[in-house]
């Protein structure tokens, strides 16, 4: 039975919640607005909120001056590449742990999670040196390798929790119905697992896109993804607010939209299925 809530109370809650929501969102909104201002308007006092001369010039400038598109492509290649490779390695593992668990499966999973506990800085030095000596420094492939490794435990955990929800009886039914292992995977498991795999893909692209330790430390001009590209605005270009805003907007927009579509999966994925 739904409780009857007075409209008055609902209106109050609505006003409070919207106010807080907008306050939290404000820095992003402000960045977005500023990206359409001229540099002078961007630092005007009092600040202009909506009534200024809208211009898209900053976007062109960011592209022409610092080649935004190259860094965007680096981000795409690195985040999609590391996620796809991670999935290819993780799917069979998660499948095996979910459908043929042994006494040690739980321990293996916990151990995998524990590799996430190692602070990246603990291995920064050897990674940097190995990358420098093998020519992987400032390459896309180098970053793909690191990001695959750091996100692999999360990918496995997410897939595991999704696979766990596919009832074992259905796979047994397929076996009874005469399906071989390969047919069982093609006709029964995969169609049922695709939503889970898609969520995992989405969340990991977001994580890889925003990763800002290895991308900052292992890249320079050539393979820098958007995280490192934006970091170059820290000074002195950062004082050009409009251009900083345009670059920032372009860096966050794709992932912001992806993320809004996958709120639920975000929770599941990042909590390793502990909260649904």
């Amino acid at each position: 039975m739904a409780r009857n809530v007075s409209t008055q109370r609902k209106v109050v809650v609505t006003v409070v919640a919207w106010t807080i929501g907008i306050l939290i969102f404000f820095p992003i909104l402000w960045t977005f607005l500023t990206s359409f201002k001229t540099e002078a308007q961007a630092i005007a006092s009092p600040p202009a909120f909506l009534f200024f001369d809208w211009t898209t010039e900053n976007y062109f400038e960011v592209q022409s001056r610092s080649n935004y598109f190259k860094h965007f492509m680096n981000s795409v290649v690195i985040s999609f590449g590391s996620t796809l490779i991670g999935l290819i390695i993780a799917i069979p593992s998660a499948w095996a742990m979910a459908f043929a668990p042994t006494k040690r499966t739980k321990d293996v999973l916990m151990w995998m999670l524990s590799t996430k506990m190692m602070p990246p800085v603990g291995v920064l030095v050897p990674m940097y040196l190995m990358y420098r000596n093998s020519g992987l420094l400032d390459t896309r492939i180098g970053l793909v390798i690191v990001l695959t490794l750091i996100n692999l435990p999360i990918i496995i955990w997410m897939l595991y929790t999704y696979f766990k929800e596919i009832p074992g009886e259905i796979l047994e039914a397929a076996r009874m119905d005469g399906a071989s292992l390969s047919k069982e995977i093609i006709y029964v498991l995969t169609p049922m697992a695709i939503p889970g795999i898609a969520s995992t893909l989405l969340l990991n692209i977001i994580l890889a896109w925003n990763e800002a330790f290895w991308t900052l430390n292992l890249t320079a001009a050539k393979a820098a993804p958007l995280t490192a590209f934006i970091a170059s605005y820290s000074s002195p270009e950062g004082l050009f607010y409009a251009k900083l805003s345009a670059a920032s907007t372009m860096a966050i927009a794709p992932i912001l939209i992806l993320g809004w579509f996958s709120q639920k999966q975000l929770v599941r994925g990042l909590t390793f299925g502990a909260v649904k």
């Binding site: 960045t31 006092s45 603990g122 900052l216 995280t227 909590t271």
Partner: protein, 290 residues
């Protein structure tokens, strides 16, 4: 339960991830330990020699070290404090019936999806800048002297920025947990005469405990290694006022090229993380069992 055939296939399928993660865990870490025992600077190649524990002694006796440990813990605890309390409050608010709940959720989640470098730069320049920032304008509006956040309260400013990024995460998880609370339980409590406060303390809070545990665990993992936010805002300064362990090791390695010292710092960071992790794993181990 499965047959022998599937079990041996299973072992084969797990092998690649286990081997990769094993290598990822052991090889670089072993190298860090090895380097930490050498006197090794990239500016002086060919001069490597065994140095015993002197790198550790040097690193630990550096006054910046204690500042960094303190700052690391301050960031973790400060952000956890803000996000857990704020997250519970926001989750309770968003769980109420209202108009446009979906849109408010989208607004609240957004900061989590912003890459750290963007978040830090936007806050640093457009809000906290003492001349052109919005905060400065607000201060002048009410007749106050603008406050130079990053110069005068660098650690606090960084905690604020990081908390803004993580508040959505805590809110989202706590909200999800809140929504799984059985409506009938709440009604039963109401029938039993429990008021709003006692319902919160005896029903809602215990129900959220698992989610709170998870929030603390996940955030701690990431907060121990805050890096980009420091790099683009204060660069660890002024002095070492906003340097955490991660940043200190980075500076030692890639700014001073002291491989040995940085490696020793890295190992200390790993040990610190392990101490924290030890307690956390026991927590999550229990919650995941349930």
């Amino acid at each position: 339960m499965a047959t022998l055939h599937t079990r041996s296939a299973a072992r084969l399928m797990i092998a690649p991830s286990v081997l990769l993660l094993l290598a990822w865990m052991i090889v670089p870490l072993a190298m860090t330990i090895y380097f930490s025992l050498l006197r090794y600077n990239l500016l002086m190649p060919g001069m490597e020699e065994f140095a015993g524990l002197s790198n550790y002694i040097y690193f630990v006796t550096d006054p910046a070290f204690f500042q960094a440990v303190f700052n690391t813990l301050a960031i973790v605890l400060g952000v956890l404090f803000i996000t857990v309390i704020g997250g519970i409050a926001l989750a309770l608010l968003l769980d109420q019936p209202m108009f446009g709940q979906g849109i408010v959720r989208i607004l609240v989640i957004a900061p989590f999806l912003i890459m750290p470098t963007v978040a830090a730069l936007v806050w640093k320049n457009m809000f906290m800048n003492p001349v052109n920032g919005l905060f400065a304008w607000l201060a002048k509006l009410v007749g106050l002297q603008p406050f130079d956040f990053l110069a005068n309260a660098p650690l606090f400013s960084i905690i604020l920025i990081v908390a803004w990024q993580w508040l959505p995460f805590a809110t989202l998880i706590l909200l999800t947990a809140l929504q799984s609370l059985d409506e009938e339980q709440k009604e039963a409590a109401q029938m039993d005469g429990a008021g709003a406060w006692s319902r919160f303390f005896y029903l809602v809070l215990p129900h959220l405990s698992r989610a709170i545990t998870v929030v603390i665990l996940i955030q701690t993992i990431f907060l121990l290694s805050v890096f980009a936010e420091i790099l683009v805002t204060t660069n660890g300064g002024p002095g070492t006022q906003s340097t955490n362990l991660t940043f200190l090791v980075y500076a030692q390695a890639l700014l001073q090229f002291d491989v040995g010292g940085a490696s020793a710092g890295g190992i200390i960071a790993v040990i610190l993380a392990n101490i924290v992790a030890f307690f956390l794993m026991r927590m999550i181990g229990k919650t995941l069992e349930a």
